[in-house]
Symmetry: C2
Subunit: 286 residues, 2 copies
Amino acid sequence: MTAQVIDGKAVARQVREDVAKGVEQLVAGGGTAPGLATVLIGDDPASEVYVRNKRRSCVAAGMQDLHRHLPGDVGQAEAAALIDELAADPAVSGILLQLPTPAHLDSESLLARIPAEKDVDGLTTANAGLLAQGRSGLRPCTPSGVMALLDQYDVPLQGVEAVVVGRSVLVGKPMAQLLLERHATVTICHSRTRDLAEVCRRADVLVVAAGIPGLVGPDAVKPGATVIDVGIHRGEEGLHGDVDTAAVAEVAGLVTPVPGGVGPMTIAMLLANTLIAAKAQQGRSD
Amino acid sequence: MTAQVIDGKAVARQVREDVAKGVEQLVAGGGTAPGLATVLIGDDPASEVYVRNKRRSCVAAGMQDLHRHLPGDVGQAEAAALIDELAADPAVSGILLQLPTPAHLDSESLLARIPAEKDVDGLTTANAGLLAQGRSGLRPCTPSGVMALLDQYDVPLQGVEAVVVGRSVLVGKPMAQLLLERHATVTICHSRTRDLAEVCRRADVLVVAAGIPGLVGPDAVKPGATVIDVGIHRGEEGLHGDVDTAAVAEVAGLVTPVPGGVGPMTIAMLLANTLIAAKAQQGRSD
């Protein structure tokens, strides 16, 4: 293996520590500790684990845990009313609706009730529009986390060729916008792309968020490239990503492992967004 | 010259005729003729010409011309009140604020008052978010016009390499989204792109919206490619675009002229958007 391996855990720890310091300073300066309202509907075990991790991280960063739990058979109107209550509550800096919601609920219309300035997941249409138009707003956590990794490892972006594999609303599309904002020449690939390996081989920075295990191998990587793997899949031999990391590491210059690469960044960026939201709401510019 | 030349005037005429038929059908079916409220602030001569053309085209398509003119020294609050009045008026299907507005006004905040469903220019942040997330909404006129030209000339898009030169909020960025929606592999270039000609040569479909006269020459074009020129510049020898069309036409398979290519499509797509908006507001799905 020749590539350097990105330590996502260490970068995430650094981001969390910076957020914790920012919270301290906000409170020391007369502000209020940011409050994160995680909203869990029903009892899906995986969702419970995710929400518990977010709440713990929020408390560890000195923020207020304003978690709310609704029963799985709650009606649309009642769920909407909760979002509206949190939207109006000045103690709530950020609202995170844990997805998926039970099938009988319209999660899109619930998400649409979250005000852009409290949308710490960065997933509402309003924040997607702000990102698309290059205006300030809350950015989606996973792509922001990738940017933080690239910055932490001093990966140059201006003028380089960046290729994003995958065009999801959660990752691929906002990822492309963030790389474009940093003046990369950006290509977006997807399932209809004709010769994926050929396009990927152009990339100085390759971000793979296709959701297909082992999709990208060494034939798709330019020597010395930075390869970021957003995929995460549970296989017989543990977790692995969209990239065949062991083989790619013989060609690439810098790679993320799975687990321990992009994964730990998502919650860290959620905390960072919650702090940004709280400061904006309390009239303290970032 | 070997390339076929796209006849933007003919395609625009066809779109206008289709819109006029759609208006007739809407009215025949008991609906109301769409109303377009162009808003002109001040007396900029170029803006007056643009607005006059839009109003004429609107009337020619059987729509109501609901033009409003404010003096150049109008205050922000008064201009905002006019937008709010038009937003609330059921006779107004679409609102078009002619840009630029006088320098003392905040045009961004005026645009933000236009409801997404009446934003027939497709330029508000709300519609940019809908486009970015692949949801239905009103699309910006110029990029939509390019798509209409590509479709009229049966240019395949799925799986092809499309390159967009320029990343403006008005053209480049939405253009990339529209091409992606049609399953092209899309690359966005800009002023920081290292070897522009090399990147452009990959394109099966090349859309140039950089605002730089003659930026793209034959060295940047793959043989047989479709080259769409969104630029328009007034030179000593008349109008010309971002593409050196005469030279490029020796290499490309299909090219747009300037004038008479993309230009005529913009007003045609504005009319199409106004009809879409009117039908949606009157509860008639498209």
